[in-house]
């Protein structure tokens, strides 16, 4: 019981995730700044932001649905933290696993986006509502390619469990190289999920102020931002587990270092993506996702289907 609580709350649970996510936010912001020829924030900036936001007043708009408005950040945070426990990190075995946890993780990672929509919708402000509709429109564009990209490696491994999948690729490392298209698709979809340039359409500040989060302030905004930071880390861990399943044989400490390096690489790739691109329009984004990203994911699915048929026979 005590050990389980320690796992849940301290390591690798909430506290570790909190520190790790904010550290990764720093890496992302610093890289983004350096790539833009700026100095960038000091290492403690994300922590300082979190503390400062937490100390600020929470303002709930008069016409907003107060219960929904307050609950949504907590929901978002709970969903991403839960998803983390089913992802293999420094060993091929996740903290918890069962057959079909892949679907659960993908589902849990969709919840934050839904909470953004509901939060924006229940804020009843014009900008929030436009942001909310954009969030949902965008969700349908990147979610399907992401599902297909992550299911393709699962097909090859012939399992619905993330841990079993990692064990399979750990034993057959060469097969992981076949999932390159899926890796790129998943990276693009994760960028969309995190609502960052070029897919920051739902919170495009020059168009709709803060988008979904226009009415949020204080602790509630801090929780939302923490949820997004953790979502970035969890998303990066998921991609690392599915597409980069190497280096599990180096013991606990070595495995941990390799895990951090993998997450760093993915975070750096995402930061690079948002440095070199401009924000797309919503219809351009949807067209891009359905005409380019989805066919690429389908191609990966097809390759893996044929391969798994060849392997089994």
């Amino acid at each position: 019981m005590a050990l389980a609580l320690f796992h849940l709350l301290i390591f690798p649970g909430f506290l570790f995730l909190f520190v790790f996510a904010l550290a990764m936010e720093f890496v992302d912001r610093k890289l983004y700044a350096r790539l833009q020829n700026r100095v960038g924030p000091p290492w403690f900036q994300p922590f300082a932001d979190f503390i400062k936001l937490s100390a600020k007043e929470d303002i709930v708009p008069e016409k907003a649905d107060a219960i929904m408005f307050r609950l949504m950040p907590v929901f978002a945070l709970a969903a991403v933290v839960t998803a983390f426990f089913y992802i293999p990190m420094w060993g091929p075995q996740a903290l918890f696993s069962f057959s079909g946890d892949l679907i659960v993780v993908i589902y849990l990672l969709t919840i934050p986006t839904l909470t953004f929509f509901l939060a924006g919708w229940h804020s009843t402000s014009l900008f929030s509502m436009i942001g909310a509709t954009r969030t949902l429109t965008q969700l349908f564009a990147y979610e399907v390619p992401l599902f297909m990209a992550i299911l393709a490696p699962a097909l090859l491994a012939n399992t619905w469990s993330l841990s079993a999948m990692t064990v399979f690729y750990d034993q057959h490392p060469a097969y992981a190289g076949l999932n390159v298209i899926g890796f790129i698709v998943a990276l693009i979809a994760l960028q969309g999920k995190l609502e960052r340039v070029p897919f920051d359409i739902p919170e495009a500040e020059t168009e709709i102020v803060g988008g979904t989060f226009t009415e949020y302030s204080g602790r509630l905004l801090a929780l939302f931002r923490l949820a997004i930071d953790i979502e970035a880390v969890v998303g990066a861990s998921l991609i690392a587990a599915v597409f980069l399943p190497f280096g599990f044989g180096l013991g606990a400490a070595g495995g941990f270092v390799i895990y951090v390096v993998k997450v760093l690489i993915i975070i750096a790739l995402l930061a690079l993506l948002r440095t070199v691109l401009a924000r797309l329009r919503i219809e351009q984004m949807v067209i891009f996702c359905w005409k380019v990203v989805a066919p690429a994911a389908l191609l990966q699915l097809l390759i893996n289907l044929i391969l798994s048929g060849v392997l089994r026979s």
């Binding site: 790539l35 833009q36 020829n37 700026r38 014009l126 900008f127 436009i130 509709t133 340039v197 070029p198 920051d200 359409i201 495009a204 500040e205 020059t206 168009e207 709709i208 102020v209 440095t275 070199v276 691109l277 401009a278 924000r279 797309l280 329009r281 919503i282 219809e283 351009q284």
Partner: protein, 408 residues
């Protein structure tokens, strides 16, 4: 979704100054747009009439923070014309150098703002970093980064040393290289082209009909530039091309501005090579003889027009300023048609608006009742005194007290 009215402004992250655009949307598509001006009225024209010409010149320089030299030169040209002053050639060259440096810094600033409006913050950071080179040069030549204060009636206040001219040429080389890089980015970066081309379409006929000026008009193939058509200061001695474009959209406006940057570097090189020796100022009378003059100037944003009427005293009788943004605002409504909400910031930004330069009146608008009224200067004065009296502040007593203190 039924039609929704979205307020862009008076306070909005996309706008650098308060101005109100009410946009009617159907889903994400713009149906119509309504502009309301008047949040920045500062009464500069009236204030000019209460000051002598030198003071008025400094005031006019503060009409705009970016094209400050444009306004002060435009105003002073009118005053010098009335007074019949012959400005020494060296002073005219110095004015032209500052004018072109100002255009460079304004266009680089615009490039950054345009990048920010389409969510391309890297372009903003790069363009503004390079803009620092111009700002530093301006500070070295005039003493100030903005509001240079180099003009005076009858010439300029500071001479430029040969070392400074050499430094200027070096800066131009650096900036030319950077600008070539931006041209490369503008012609290759896919998301940038996707966000800019076809957005804010303004057909050639519409640009002519709505009286668009500057880069906005030139991007719709309106071949009009005051520097060539009605040369002032030293422009008649310079060899340059007027950049026009046939894209008719925001992408065209970007290309025109970047193209103009390349012309600016060339012009500054010519100016440095040709600058004559001699005095930089002639003595100007304090009182300007009665008369009137009309002056045109190609500011970075387009044609700037000043009208000055003198009555023989040391103060102007009437000063009228028409900033380029006013001429371009009418075409914004046309550009908005059939675009998306996402394009609103970049379409507004593409005319390089400067609202505080434009505002010439305040209109009281009662949002609750839709009642509108215009106040005269006298009425506004009385209203202000009455309002303060109601708050318990009586200026009569205060004025009496102040004048008593002054006597002691």
């Amino acid at each position: 979704m039924a039609n929704v009215k979205i307020p862009i402004g008076p306070q909005h992250p996309a706008l650098k100054e308060p101005e109100s655009f009410t946009i009617t949307l159907n889903g994400e598509t713009i149906i119509s747009m309504d502009v309301r001006l008047g949040y920045n009225h500062r009464g500069i024209e009236k204030a000019c009439e209460e000051r002598n010409y030198i003071q008025a010149m400094y005031l006019v320089e503060r009409v705009c923070g970016i094209c400050s030299h444009s306004h002060s030169t435009c105003f002073i040209q009118a005053v010098e014309e009335i007074a019949g002053l012959a400005v020494p050639p060296r002073a005219q060259y110095i004015r032209t150098i500052i004018a072109e440096l100002e255009r460079i810094h304004s266009h680089l600033l615009w490039l950054g703002v345009a990048g920010h409006e389409i969510g391309f913050d890297t372009l903003l950071m790069y363009a503004w970093r390079d803009r620092e080179a111009v700002m530093d040069t301006l500070a070295a030549l005039t003493g100030n980064r903005v509001n240079y204060g180099i003009n005076t009636i009858g010439g300029v206040r500071r001479d430029i040393s040969p070392e400074q001219l050499a430094g200027l040429l070096k800066t131009m080389d650096v900036l030319e290289e950077r600008t070539k890089y931006y041209i490369e980015v503008a012609s290759q970066e896919i998301t940038l082209i996707k966000r800019l081309s076809g957005v804010g379409y303004l057909a050639h006929e519409d640009a002519v009909k709505l009286g668009a000026v500057g880069p906005t008009a030139r991007a719709s193939a309106v071949d009009r530039d005051i520097r060539r058509d009605d040369p002032y200061i030293a422009y008649k001695d310079l060899d340059f091309k007027v950049i026009t474009d046939t894209h008719n959209d925001v992408y065209g406006r970007t290309l025109v501005r970047v193209g103009e940057l390349m012309q600016c570097y060339n012009m500054i090189r010519q100016l440095v090579a040709k600058i004559p020796d001699g005095p930089v100022t002639v003595k100007a009378p304090r009182k300007i003889p009665a008369g009137e003059a009309f002056s045109r100037y190609e500011a970075p944003r387009g044609e700037d027009v000043h009208y000055v009427k003198a009555n023989g005293t040391d103060k102007a009788e009437r000063v009228k300023i028409r900033a380029p943004t006013l001429a371009n605002l009418q075409s914004v409504a046309k550009m908005m048609e059939n675009n998306r909400l996402a394009d609103v910031p970049i379409i507004i930004a593409a005319i390089d608006p400067c609202f505080s330069c434009t505002d010439r009146m305040v209109r009281i608008h009662d949002a609750g009742h839709g009642r509108q009224e215009t106040l005269s200067w006298q009425a506004l004065h009385t209203y202000s005194l009455d309002w303060h009296r109601k708050q318990g502040i009586d200026f009569k007593a205060l004025n009496a007290k102040l004048s008593r203190r002054m006597k002691l």
